[in-house]
């Protein structure tokens, strides 16, 4: 029922399909250009944006450098406040813990707040296998779930859908999941939002168990923070008896005061608002207010592998605002699905290969899904140098080298498809180091120029698929210079 990301094709193949979809490109272009301008205006309101950004990066770096200590402090404070902390080394373990916790309540359905961590672990599919029905309650996640689709954006998972498509999904699919769409439903966003409100209200009122993620966890207090817009988060965090939050270990911040940085950076970067409509903060459980039972599942699932990479670890600063998606020329054209994971766009291109390792052609292709224009770095509210990590990961793919996978340090071999490129670069390096050989090669090339194909044969074919081969001059520069002394002779 729930679609997963298993067996997704490498980025070039997926993008070759999606870039041909004119509707998708129009939807993405309109949406990303709208939010781009709004974000710039929201950021420009704050004179100290650069200082906030630097502080946001520094607090995350400090946390990451002492993550073991902060995780223990967090565990102690969540426990003291009445919560129970679980540790999940990988996706399967996280799904197992959540499934067991739901089963222990005797319930067969859960309401869910939008959560990247549970997208990453494929929790919905795991729950369905165990006979538990998960209901997504974020509007965009609902659209994705009803449409048997996959998210294509971190913040707006249904960004690839136009209002007309959303109306059609609601009309045809809502009845299968509960209250049907109102008759005569139009494609006006306010009517669509109203339909979602009616459809989900009954589920909120009867739900006994909720699953959420969290945007931040405060080590010194044990407080969790969820930032949202619609109120579905508040519903899930407040009404059920049992709350299970699955959160990546890198979401920790040391102090309560640190939130003052991120609660300024995140809303303006994400939805271009001074503040998002609703933010919930809770510390363990409170008598007679909200869930009686609170479970926190701390998720590793490759994060410690990323932490082991000194260049790549800055990716763990990410606060999932998705500003980098909205400015990326590659994302705008290829769409989110081409990235083959819940994390699309520039951040996905550096996060997915680090969380999963360079495990398949998909992960190997992601560091190349960029023009290295650097727009992502400019807008990143925690100053993740995405181009730097992209280049670093490209080197890993092409040259091979040391990586950490599931906590074990290994050496990866160069990826096969880059062997020809490496051989060529090697040969080019040698030739440039040997002037006589270079001269001979240049003369040969010039004399045979009429015979040159417009596209490279063999392993070079893919490279010249998207590039024009430069025209060769009739005569090498050195020969021209020797003959004419720069045109003066």
């Amino acid at each position: 029922m729930s679609r997963t990301y298993l067996g997704m094709p490498a980025f070039p193949e997926a993008a070759a399909v999606s870039t041909g979809d004119a509707t998708l490109r129009a939807n993405l272009r309109r949406a990303t250009h709208t939010i781009r301008a709004k974000r710039a205006a929201a950021v420009a309101e704050l004179d100290d944006w650069d200082q906030l950004r630097a502080a946001g990066a520094a607090v995350k770096d400090r946390t990451l450098r002492h993550l073991d200590r902060y995780l223990l402090q967090l565990e102690e404070n969540v426990t003291r406040a009445g919560g129970t902390v679980h540790w999940a080394a990988d996706a399967d373990e996280a799904n197992r813990i959540v499934t067991d916790l739901v089963r222990a309540t005797g319930e067969t359905e859960v309401v869910k707040v939008k959560s990247m961590a549970t997208q990453e672990t494929g929790l919905n599919a795991a729950l369905e296998q165990a006979g538990i029905r998960p209901y997504e309650t974020d509007l965009a996640e609902l659209i994705v779930q009803l449409g048997d689709d996959l998210p294509s954006h971190i913040l707006v998972p249904a960004i690839h859908r136009s209002r007309g498509e959303i109306r059609d999904i609601f009309r045809t699919r809502m009845a299968d999941w509960g209250r049907p769409a109102p008759s005569g439903l139009t494609d006006r966003p306010s009517d669509l939002a109203e339909a979602a409100r009616l459809h989900l209200r009954e589920k909120f009122l009867r739900a006994k168990v909720a699953v959420s993620g969290a945007n931040f966890m405060v080590a010194e207090t044990g407080t969790l923070v969820v930032v949202e817009s619609e109120g579905n988060g508040r519903m899930c965090l407040t009404l059920p008896e049992t709350l299970i939050s699955v959160v990546g270990i890198e979401k920790t911040v040391p102090t309560w005061q640190d939130l003052e940085i991120y609660l300024q950076l995140l809303p303006r970067s994400a939805t271009a608002e001074r503040m998002n409509p609703y933010t919930s903060m809770w510390t363990g459980t409170t008598d007679d207010d909200g869930p009686r039972s609170f479970h926190l599942v701390l998720l590793d699932n490759g994060r410690t592998d990323a932490l082991a990479d000194r260049t790549g670890r800055q990716v763990l600063r990410c606060i999932r605002c998705s500003a980098c998606l909205n400015v990326c020329p590659v994302y705008e054209r290829a769409g989110g699905h081409a990235y083959g994971s819940p994390y699309p766009g520039p951040i996905g291109a550096v996060l997915t290969p680090q969380l999963r390792g360079l495990a398949s052609p998909l992960e190997e292709s992601l560091p190349f899904a960029s023009s290295l224009c650097g727009a992502c770095y400019d807008v990143c509210p925690v100053a993740i140098d995405i181009p730097e990590i992209l280049v670093h990961l490209r080197e890993r793919v092409v040259q091979g080298g040391e990586v950490t996978t599931r906590g074990i340090r290994t050496v990866v071999k160069p990826a096969k498809k880059h062997l020809a490129e490496r051989a060529m670069m090697h040969a080019a390096g040698w030739t440039l180091d040997h002037p006589r050989a270079l001269r001979r090669a240049q003369r040969l090339a010039a004399r045979t120029r009429r015979l040159h194909p417009r596209r490279l044969p063999g392993p070079g074919r893919a490279w010249s698929d998207t590039r024009e081969l430069p025209p060769l001059p009739t005569e090498p520069f050195r020969d021209w210079w020797a003959r004419t002394r720069g045109g003066t002779a």
Partner: protein, 235 residues
């Protein structure tokens, strides 16, 4: 399986951080906190104006009234809305709704979400409000009640005392809030940007938010000083 996942994850973290010197303490990694505590200097009256402006920008309806006029204004707002049943936190001043011809539904541990679904409006105070972001913050205090009473009804009327409840900025707000209490930050009514990144007000939370800024009746420039009176927490 060797050890628990807790041990395994912590061991992985420590191995991953082999390049961090053993003697390094967290505070040895510098965090520049040279960002602003507030964005601009304002008088209390200016802060109240900015709060009103920013709340309205996100489609909350803002009202200004002297304390003596509050009961009449509440009666009017509830009447305008046609509210018949109104949820009331245990510590809401009784005089606020004394004139309103409505059935008061008192908040109590036994009041369920399903019962609240049949309630028209809720009236609360707040812990504080943030001018720069147009935010009211609830901390489940006696005049605010449990979190669900401001969530399930479709209409929320929130009363802010301008004399002592308005701060300018997010840093000032966090310095005054108690993390041990369940906190809800509200900036305008429920909204979504999920359809073509177009902002639409009104999904699951209250679709109508009235915020009343109550002043004590003296001229505005004589109001009590608000703001950074509490020390910041943390490092």
């Amino acid at each position: 399986m060797r050890g628990t996942s807790r041990d395994r994850i912590l061991a992985r973290v420590r191995r991953a951080l082999a390049d961090v010197p053993a003697h390094e303490r967290p505070q040895d990694h510098p965090v520049p906190r040279d960002y602003l505590r507030t964005h601009g200097a304002r008088t209390p009256a200016e802060s109240a104006d900015l709060l009103a402006e920013n709340l309205a920008d996100y489609r909350a309806v803002v009202h200004r009234v002297a304390a003596t006029g509050l009961p009449a204004l509440l009666t009017e707002l509830l009447g305008r809305r046609g509210a018949r049943r109104v949820a009331v936190p245990a510590g809401l001043p009784a005089e606020w709704l004394a004139q309103a011809p409505v059935e008061q539904v008192p908040d109590s541990a036994g009041l369920t979400a399903r019962e609240l679904d049949a309630v028209d409006s809720v009236v609360t105070g707040c812990a504080l409000a943030i001018a720069e972001t147009g935010t009211v913050v609830l901390d489940a205090g006696p005049d605010q009640g449990r979190r669900l009473i401001t969530l399930v009804p479709d209409h929320h009327v929130c009363v802010v005392r301008t004399a002592d409840q308005i701060v300018d900025s997010v840093p000032q707000a966090l310095g005054r809030l108690d993390p041990a209490r369940p906190l809800t930050w509200i900036s305008g009514p429920s909204a979504t940007s999920d359809i073509e990144l177009d902002r639409v007000e009104g999904v699951h939370g209250p679709r109508a938010l009235d915020v009343i800024l109550v002043h004590d009746g003296r001229p505005r420039d004589e109001q009590a000083v608000t703001g950074d009176s509490a020390p910041a927490r943390g490092l």
